[in-house]
Symmetry: C2
Subunit: 498 residues, 2 copies
């Protein structure tokens, strides 16, 4: 061991700053301070501006150019959170965060993650941590009951929906068994080109997955949507038949329940019929809206989902579990296994009957204990607690839509089946481009005040405001404040663009 460093006077404990990596009592003391810091942060996050006032490079400039040669005391770590990090954060915890989709660091979620990182297990094999695998699959089976989905689906957690979509489409590709793609790849002589289908409103991760899988952007055909932004099944059918006639091999359809821009719901039952007829893999992306299946009154939106070959929803979106935590289900674990199983010599283990080695069902080998935070959130809220909050978010969205609908300076841009409302400011004197610029400006003005953050999207080529309610801490007062700011900034945004 190297000799002790005489400069270590800055340490706050006699044993030096390193000791708390070793000594559970020092961990305890530092841990209490970290929890206190987090509690104070959570208490004041609603008073901070949602968006930070930093320019690119500001945060990095606040950090030392070189790594520290000697250990630093815990005080320095905590004070740098206040000095450098918090002023550079976009506060996703803020109750006025209405951009993208809201997510929540709930209490049990944060503490569940604390415990998971302390266990620091790698559940690649059942044997390498049985509880990591079994709690994960068990809690995900609870969720099938909570969402009224088929109880026999094979469950696993993945980090993000992007990876879930990739895994789903890799399985769909593998299901083309005659092509031996796992062995020979896609470019073997005589192979047909594969094509998947999703609506033009589907998430960008679908296109990214197809690029990654080697099918290219040409491997995705984007299907137009109807006036409610739902996939047009007639157009889908025509595309599949046309492509088949042209020598493509259609292999998968991605249907979305709750698209990202408008939260529209594709007609999954009809798509499932078509998939059965044409032997296409049906993946349902319910990353955001999947949580709404907790509510019996929302189940109609999920009709047909029970016929999916794979299904994904994100507990880290609207179910109050900290990021990252994505629930992936499939009716065909054997196909996933054919796509992904590889057992190297250093991971060979005596086969344990009825044990599941989750490394065989996806891309990543390493697997942390993500299920604890999910388990703790479900248990702490109870299913009724989750339901009541999700229901309240949907009620607030309906209220907001009502306010917007009754003010003729604004118009609703799309149906709002869940907790997200798309709308536009209107300035009758302005041409389309001017109105688009005014809506951009309106979002910027509203978000510039501090307590609210709204983002925009484009629908049918037009700039559209989007207010998504999903944070546990968002209440009626926050939605009302956003609406007041929208109203009060409307005139200035129009003048600026005019």
């Amino acid at each position: 061991m190297e000799s002790p460093n005489p400069d270590r006077g800055a340490s706050e404990s006699p044993a030096g700053p390193e000791s708390w990596n070793w000594d559970p009592e020092s961990f305890r003391a530092h841990g209490h301070r970290a929890v206190d810091w987090v509690a104070d942060y959570l208490a004041r996050v609603g008073e901070l501006p949602v968006l930070p006032a930093v320019r690119p490079g500001d945060v990095a400039r606040g950090l030392p150019e070189h790594p520290p040669e000697h250990g630093e005391p815990f005080d320095a770590l905590l004070s740098d959170l206040d000095r450098v990090v918090v002023p550079g954060l976009t506060h996703w915890n803020h109750p006025g965060f209405f951009a993208y989709f809201g997510i929540t660091a709930s209490g049990p979620g944060i503490l569940g993650e604390l415990v998971a990182s302390a266990f620091n297990t790698n559940g690649m094999l059942w044997k390498t941590s049985p509880a990591t695998t079994e709690v994960e699959q068990h809690v995900l089976r609870w969720m099938l009951e909570m969402f009224d989905l088929p109880r026999d689906w094979f469950p696993q957690l993945v980090d993000t929906a992007s990876i879930g979509t990739l895994v789903a489409l890799a399985a769909a590709r593998e299901a083309q068994a005659d092509l031996e793609i796992r062995k020979e790849g896609l470019a073997a002589p005589g192979h047909p080109r594969l094509r998947a289908y999703a609506s033009e409103q589907a998430h960008s991760s679908v296109e990214k997955a197809l690029i990654t899988l080697g099918l290219g952007q040409a491997g995705l055909r984007k299907i137009p949507t109807d006036e409610s932004f739902r996939m047009d099944v007639r157009a889908l059918r025509q595309a599949v038949e046309e492509d088949r006639a042209d020598g493509w091999r259609p292999f998968a359809v991605i249907a979305t329940v709750g698209t990202t821009s408008t939260t529209s719901v594709d007609p999954v039952s009809e798509i499932a019929d078509l998939c059965r007829e044409h032997r296409l893999w049906l993946h349902v992306d319910a990353a955001y809206a999947g949580t709404a299946a907790l509510l019996p009154e929302m189940r109609a939106h999920f009709a047909g989902c029970d016929r999916a070959d794979s299904y994904l929803m994100n507990p880290h979106k609207w179910m109050f579990v900290p990021i990252d935590c994505s629930a992936f289900y499939t009716a065909h674990p054997d196909v996933l296994q054919r796509a992904f199983q590889l057992v190297p010599d250093y991971l060979r283990t005596e086969p344990a009957a009825h044990a599941t080695d989750l490394m065989n069902y996806g891309v990543q080998l390493g697997r942390r204990f993500r299920a604890i935070k999910l388990w703790w959130v479900i248990r702490t809220f109870g299913v009724e607690g989750l339901r009541s909050r999700v229901r309240e978010h949907c009620r607030l969205a309906r209220e907001l839509a009502r306010w917007i609908g009754s003010d003729d300076r604004f118009e609703i841009s799309a149906p709002a089946p869940f907790s997200t409302v798309c709308f536009r400011g209107r300035w009758p004197g302005l041409p389309d481009e001017g109105e688009d610029a005014a809506n951009e400006d309106l979002a910027r003005r509203v978000s510039g005040h501090g307590p609210v953050f709204l983002a925009t999207t484009r629908l049918r080529g037009r700039t559209t405001l989007r207010l998504a309610i999903g944070n546990l801490r968002s209440e009626e007062s926050h939605v009302r404040l956003a609406w007041e700011l929208l109203q009060s900034e409307h005139a200035a945004a129009g003048e600026n663009a005019g």
Copy 2:
């Protein structure tokens, strides 16, 4: 809101068990208890058996069949950790964990993850949390200095080495610009088949990445190794030339510094020469051994790594950062961006000069604040603190190798350049298969006692024991105990197989 539930007598606070999701003071109180629980667990983990005594299904049977309708108190969550989870864990924190590669839940790593999950930012764009992007890239640039690697490499964190390898090979594929693979996919008419090269000792994630990318198992040619398990560069050259002549298009070589079975080091400089000559992308996988580059006396093993096109090391392996945290570097961020950038309407943002949107450099859109735990570990230990521990692990491995080498019941199976030793028990009367079985049995016997967990691998077709030192808490006494158990179980393992 739903009416309060009259059954809520089980709650430990007057406001009911749900209140602590809302109220920072309840979070504080529960957080202190969670920290105390973790501190107690860390204090006793060395006394638990490393491997749990559970059969498949035992953990799941300890959980309620149905999800709870009503919220449960925090007591129930904590007591289930003791009742169901801890008895079902493989304790990666145990100082006698010598299987696979050791990993560590260090104090600052655990608390860094607590803070990250409380911030719960999604750093997909710079704008969606500037500090998340900037702390990540800044700390990864510190590491380039710590490891003496090119300071201008573009850094990002990925979750696992599996994803890092996938991203590297996706970029290498995209670098075949004439093929327009992003647009057309791999099966466009007239496309050559692509092939990558790695040694037969390379990690299974290389093969999995090539399967995922649509190149198939045929897209990987495994190159034989020399007597020290290092890639044979003459064989590599021959393979590349042969394949080119046969119409394949060679596009990438994966060199490993610290292979998984023996921690052998491929001759990276010579491989880099060949890659330059043949215009192949060089990816260096230093997932485990990368940490050893902290030590000047180990730098010779990294000669040539500065010429890599992409490079990966795992702070979550030997650098005491909780899983998952993988550092990925590339000299060609423009190629990654060409491979992965897709900006959907709902994520369009005014371009901020000099801001990096990390979603454009990989598969996943979602990105949590993984850098905090890494930053806190480096700052708490200081670079000298990390060096001293890594150096000590290497010293312990040399000691163990010396003990083994001086006992003629055992033999060393491979060079041990870092902290992992491969060896075999010998039983001169036994045939090869018998000796293999005896070595399996020996690993099982040693691991059956409780305080030590060893795994096996296969080298040149022979079963080999493998003792990997990498946990922060592993000290000489633990290595010595493992060695004592190996010696005392040697005879019984031989009898059993004989």
